[in-house]
């Protein structure tokens, strides 16, 4: 077994068996479970009874099929007087009374409550009234039921053609929405993995350096091999956590609710091209590698593990900026800010997949961004390796700039 594989194996075993890795993985799994089963969990704690709504129909329109009862709202159609119904409102036997009437050939709905309705319930009732209003409007035209249904269900055919050959194929809204969700997911994955594993690699190198175990290791292992082992080992740990979490997520999606959630995922994925999947994976992988290289270098700069967080701060700030730029892109992915950050190697992994998925970007732009990221990774690796060899046995105090100066001073 080569020295590199011995070091990688040791790091991998130590981290994967470590309490922090297990707890962090379980935490992610717990969060995913809570998100997936939020409505069920909420139901356990919030025992909500269905709203009781009385509907008084003063029009010839048949409202029962429109205002159908469900788990949240029970509609009743009493024949009692308004006053009696309002009394029931006061007695909290009813939550709302809706009186539907005609006015100037339009449907009119008066909603009376004693306790104001929640926003969700208001929205649901409003949309049902809107629909009833449409039906009423159609009925005023004396159309047949088939004709009315045709009008209600008719959807325009929208095709988009971009005559600029420099840009790629124009995406449909569905494709853009799917791309947005996937890139948003990829961005979150990058953010969390960078936050977790940047810290792991930096503190690991710092702790070996601080404990002087590194000096013993470097007698038999070249600094370059040690550097590589940290990056490969931490990457494998990250992929393991990635595999466990996504494996669990897949099982949840596939086998709960009769696979209905998985069908939603499939529908999102069906709108996504293979090239987009390639870009997402490539950006995700390279961004994590880049941050691991930086993390290992930062770890080699500090003299003891307590200083690790100090040197990590700039990288964490950049990740945060990238993350917030990506979040801003959810509202509008076509801004100049998004465009600029989609080329910066430390943030492009979070931002460029959003542009590829959710905008009509030319095919050249992602390639340029990816090439920039690859070149940065290679350059960062070469520079970090050279610097790592010199910094890993240099002990100094002060801030990060001070530490770099000391390394340069004592090794050149």
């Amino acid at each position: 077994m080569s020295k590199l594989s011995i070091l990688v194996k040791q790091l991998y075993k130590e981290k994967v068996k470590g309490k922090s890795f297990i707890l962090m993985t379980l935490l992610y799994i717990a969060v995913i479970t809570v998100v997936m089963f939020w409505s069920d969990i909420k139901a356990l704690f919030v025992n909500e009874e269905a709203l009781q709504i009385a509907l008084v129909n003063e029009t010839p329109v048949e409202l029962e099929p429109i205002f159908a009862s469900n788990d949240d709202i029970t509609f009743s159609y009493p024949t009692e007087s308004k006053e009696s119904l309002y009394e029931q409102l006061k007695d909290e036997k009813l939550d709302a009374v809706i009186i539907v009437s005609e006015e100037n050939k339009r449907l009119k709905a008066e909603i009376a409550t004693y306790t104001p309705l929640k926003l969700n319930d208001q929205s649901t009732i409003s949309s049902l009234i809107q629909y009833a209003g449409s039906i009423y409007g159609i009925q005023q035209l004396n159309l047949t039921a088939e004709e009315a249904e045709k009008i209600l269900n008719s959807e325009p055919i929208i095709t988009t053609t971009n005559i600029n050959e420099q840009t790629g194929d124009t995406k449909s809204e569905d494709q853009k929405q799917s791309g947005m969700w996937v890139s948003y997911g990829a961005g979150i994955v990058i953010y969390f993995f960078v936050m977790t594993f940047l810290s792991i690699i930096t503190t690991d190198v710092a702790s070996e350096k601080g404990s002087r175990a590194l000096e013993m290791l470097l007698v038999s292992v070249k600094p370059g091999t040690h550097f590589q082992s940290k990056i490969i080992g931490t990457m494998l740990v990250a992929l393991t956590q990635f595999g466990v979490i996504f494996g669990f997520l897949f099982v949840l999606l596939r086998f709960t609710d009769g696979g209905s959630k998985w069908k939603m995922v499939e529908s999102v994925l069906s709108d996504i091209s293979y090239s987009y999947v390639f870009y997402v994976i490539a950006f995700l992988f390279l961004t994590i590698v880049l941050y691991l290289i930086i993390g290992a270098l930062f770890g080699s700069l500090v003299s003891k593990v307590e200083e690790a967080s100090q040197v990590m701060t700039p990288a964490i700030m950049i990740t945060l900026i990238g993350f917030y730029v990506m979040i801003s892109g959810v509202a509008n992915p076509d801004t100049l800010l998004i465009k600029v950050f989609s080329y910066i190697p430390l943030t492009s992994g979070m931002v460029m997949p959003m542009r590829i998925g959710a905008t009509d970007i030319s095919t050249v732009e992602p390639i340029i961004s990816l090439v920039l990221l690859i070149v940065t990774c290679v350059a960062a690796y070469i520079l970090s390796l050279s610097f790592y060899k010199r910094s890993v046995l240099t002990y100094s105090t002060g801030g990060i700039i001070e530490k770099i100066k000391t390394v340069l001073k004592v090794t050149t």
Partner: protein, 299 residues
């Protein structure tokens, strides 16, 4: 000749850490590198181990540049103690052994032998962080030579050890010497150096003040340490010719002479009608020579 340092210089911009250092170590020899803190010992070790590059000069092993030798032949115990705190003692030794090319039964045999020798059997499956400082040091020490190196560097191996464990370590070093391991070590405890080393080098601010055999060093000073147990008062002893200094050590006087030739006249003077219970002429201890050479305390 095994290890040879010739005109080795290490400069950091305007600061010279090691200046024109020369010494050789033969196979199976124990060599001491002594000096105050900041004398350049650790820098010298790091240059020998190729952890730092010398600015000038050459470091060779059997005539070849040290850089070219198999790294697994080397063993190193750094000055500051440190092992993987979360790793169990046995796992730690397996890891370091495997890293230096050992495997299977041979590694297990070595681990069993040294764990037993250093009385760590009960701690074998304990995490390193749960051990006392002394036991951690023993584990780190075993890790430094578990792979049977040809050349072993021990930077302050005795610091922090109690007298019992110090003896265990001394015996281990002597056993390694018997097995043909060449050992270079530094220590602030001169009695250990005196006991173990055949040859030594004294460093002061990166400059070698002496390099050679311990006996040659002592001979440079001659037998100038005179211990006397007598009824002659101190004031009279101080007046005698050739006496540099008189110290009272419990019930005897320790005189430092200018040179060995003054001993005989002193004996003749004080034996004249006085009772002499002890009259012993010795070489200075290494500790005394060291203090004289580097000037002041070791710390």
């Amino acid at each position: 000749m095994t290890l040879a340092l010739k005109h080795v210089v290490k400069k950091y911009k305007d600061f010279t850490a090691v200046n024109d250092l020369n010494f050789t170590i033969d196979k199976g020899e124990i060599f001491g590198l002594i000096g105050q803190n900041g004398a350049g010992k650790t820098t010298t070790f790091r240059m020998i181990l190729d952890l730092q590059e010398q600015t000038e000069g050459s470091i060779t092993w059997d005539g070849s540049p040290i850089k070219k030798i198999n790294r697994d032949w080397l063993g190193y115990l750094p000055e500051e103690r440190g092992i993987f705190p979360q790793m169990k003692v046995e796992d730690q030794l397996i890891f370091f052994g495997k890293l230096r090319g050992m495997n299977g039964n041979e590694l297990k045999k070595e681990i069993d032998f040294w764990i037993n020798r250093f009385e760590l059997e009960e701690k074998r499956h304990d995490k390193a962080e749960t051990l006392s400082k002394g036991n951690q040091q023993k584990v780190q020490l075993i890790a430094s030579f578990i792979h049977k190196p040809k050349f072993l560097i021990l930077d302050e191996p005795f610091s922090g050890l109690d007298p019992v464990n110090r003896d265990l370590l001394k015996n281990a070093i002597l056993l390694l010497k018997e097995k043909g391991v060449t050992i270079l070590f530094s220590s602030h405890q001169m009695d250990n150096v005196e006991e173990l080393c055949d040859h030594l080098c004294i460093l002061k601010r990166g400059v070698s003040l002496f390099s050679g055999s311990l006996l040659d060093l002592k001979k440079q000073y001659g037998k100038t340490k005179l211990s006397i147990r007598t009824t002659v008062p101190k004031s009279e002893l101080e007046k005698m010719a050739g006496v540099k200094e008189v110290k009272v050590m419990r019930d005897e006087y320790v005189l430092t002479l200018m040179n060995e030739s003054f001993a005989k006249p002193i004996f003749e003077l004080i034996s004249n009608g006085q009772y002499i219970e002890k009259f012993s002429l010795d070489y200075l201890s290494l500790d005394e020579i060291f203090k004289d050479k580097v000037g002041g305390n070791d710390e």
